[in-house]
Structures are given as C-alpha cells and as structure tokens.
Symmetry: C2
Subunit: 218 residues, 2 copies
C-alpha cells in the first residue's frame, strides 16, 4: 500500500507526519468503507508510526472527522464569508471554490455521499454525526439574503434555488463512469475548470435578477 | 411482503398479472440489491404464480431488464421526439417529462445510479449491460442540434451543457435524506413540480441564446 519504506527519503517533521496521516486517511476512506480501513493501514500509507494517530487525533474516528474538516475548510470559509458579505456573485464564488477544491480530490464528494447514505448502525450514525457537525450547510444563507435584497429573479423559490445549486455543485463529481461513457463526457481538471465557469454562468443567468448590476456579465 | 392474499379480491387478468410483476419487480429492485431479490419474492408481492415470470420474461434478469425499459419508456419517447424535431424548449421538455415520471417513482433514479456504480462482477456486468442497452443517452442529440442551429448562447460548451442538464435532472432524486435535512429541503410531488419549472427556467435563461424566440419567456 505505502510505496515508500520507512528507511527511505528525508526525515519527516512533526507537521509533515500529521499532514501525511490526513492525506493517507483521505485517500483510504475515499476508496474503502470506514470499517475496512485500519489504523495500521493508514499509518503504513502515511509512512509514520501508528501511535501518532492516537497522539494527534485520539482515534480513527477522530482522524476521520478531522480529515473531513480540513479537506472542506476552504469551502466553509467561503460560505462564512458570503454569509457576512453577500453579492450577486456569491453563489458562483462558492461553486468555483468547491470545484477548485474537488478537482484536487475528485472522489471526495463520493465519500460524503456514501457516508450520508449509510444504513443507521451505531458506528454509521457516529460517522454521520461527525460529518454533519462540520457541515455548515444550514448556515448557508446566501439565497435567503439575495431574495431579501431583491437580487433574485422574482419567481425564484429559495428551496428550488438551493436544490439546483447543490445539484450543479456535487453531481459532476458523483456521476458514475458508465454514465459518463454513455453520454460522452470525460472529466479531468480542465473539464471541471470549464464546467465551473459554465455552471456559474448558468446560475447567474438563471437566478440573478439584474445580471448587469454586479458588472460580471460575460 | 405482499399485503393481499391470493384468495382475496377480484381475479386478475393476464395483463394485470404481467403489470403486477413489473410493479412488484420495480418496487423490490429499488429497495434491495439484485441478488437479494428472489423470483419467489417478486411473485409473492405481485400476488401471482412464480411460473408467470418465466412465461413473460424468461428469467429474473429478463424481468429486471423489461422493468427498466417500461419504466423509462416515456422518457425515451420524448428524447427520440426531440431528436427528430428539436426546439429551444426541448431540454426543458425532456426535464419535465423526467420529473413527472420520477415523481411517481422517486427512488427509481437511485436504482439506476446504484446499478451503474456496481463493482464489475459477472452478474453486475450483465445488469449494467442490460441497463445501457436500453439507455438512449448516446442518442440524445438535442444540445448538438441546438448548437448547430445557433440557438445556444455562444459560449456554451456542449459537454458542459450535458453535464449541467443531467445534474439538474437526476440529483434531486438522489440527494440523501440527511443532506436534505441539513439544508432544509423537503421533497414531495409538489416540490418536484415546482422544481421542474424552476430548473426549466434555469436552462432556458442559462443556455438558450434568444429566450424570446421560443415565446416561452415567463
């Protein structure tokens, strides 16, 4: 699993080791179900001693939770920012942040989707609680704020706006390979970059009342 | 599982029985993995003799395949229709057809998604081959036709248009309950009706070059 031997390469700093554990955990949890990933396998992939997991994260669950939090941090910051100071361009700013982030971890949204869909066993419920503890989605107020400020097209319903926004945000990363093949779509970083612009434009033209106002019409 | 006893109710006609098997299969395959659904359970739920499955569909796989085909038939007809005669409103026509259809079977898209994502075992590959044999997605040419006719906004890329279209189409039916709760969305037939209009408007404003031309601007 780990391609490097402990004896090889330069010595890792403490922060390197912590980061390596986060990266190894992300990669293993994305690929496998939670209970199939052992603390030992994470340490092996990170090429550090397994005791460091307890030291930094207390437990496998702690590492799982911290990995989610740190991976999604730039997205949450952007949401908090738009909550404080919103603009007509806020939905597309959030979308662009998410696409940039997920282009580096294109299978990460599958982990979130899979975790949210787990059957309600005790461990699974703890996983889900950890997932939603860090999820600031209830606090994503951008559409309410735009509506109140009369910046949405007059017939736009907030719940519909949220649903279409989240659909455009996450489904491109969830689409099964077989369906991509069937419809002739190839995803790679360049495609996601193009798609971010395309979907931003779709949101702007489709939701925003006066596109010319925010001076970002194409 | 079946709530009616064989002795109860009026006698079923042959077509009733065939239809009852399709309905029972849809409901059981949506809820459970393919291999966990027995021919006997389907017959029991349909309240008909199991030998009729062999008679009408040859096998469980034949029934699975036929059930997919018949459930998606109205969608495929609409796609074929728009391929023959396209208009600026074609994408939203397809979307509306899909929403109307899936409002009656809101978990059906999950079956398609799950099937497309199965690990490539022998049985699974047969399931997937059956799924894609009936899928006319490669033949959905609407965006290519609109582009050629200069009816898309000039900067719209066809692959991006397909991706956003499919995202808006299917993700609302795939969103995990936990995420719906977290963002404050409740799905029911009325919501899907409202969302169909909302997403149709999003596609119209976002993709179509001259919205006034098809005379369907709100």
């Amino acid at each position: 699993m780990a391609t490097t031997k402990k004896s090889a390469g330069r010595p890792l700093t403490q922060m390197d080791k912590r980061g390596a554990l986060i990266d190894a955990a992300r990669s293993l949890f994305v690929e496998n179900d939670y209970e199939k990933v052992s603390v030992r396998a994470i340490a092996l992939k990170a090429d550090v001693d397994a005791s460091l997991i307890r030291y930094y994260f207390h437990s496998k669950m702690g590492l799982f939770s911290q990995m989610l939090k740190e991976t999604l941090a730039p997205m949450f910051e952007k949401i908090q920012q738009t909550n404080k100071q919103f603009a007509a361009s806020s939905p597309e700013d959030i979308l662009t942040t998410y696409y940039t982030l997920m282009s580096q971890n294109p299978d990460f949204p599958k982990l979130i989707f899979r975790t949210a869909n787990l059957a309600a066993t005790e461990v699974n419920q703890e996983l889900q609680a950890n997932l939603f503890a860090i999820f600031p989605t209830t606090r994503m107020t951008i559409f309410d704020q735009l509506k109140q400020a009369d910046m949405l097209k007059s017939d736009v319903d907030i719940m519909c706006a949220k649903m279409s926004f989240i659909s455009l945000l996450v489904f491109p990363f969830l689409m099964p390979d077989l369906i991509k093949q069937a419809v002739g779509i190839k995803t790679n970083p360049e495609f996601f970059q193009k798609l971010a612009k395309h979907n931003a434009s779709l949101l702007r033209h489709g939701l925003i009342a006066d596109e010319s106002k925010p001076s970002q019409d194409r």
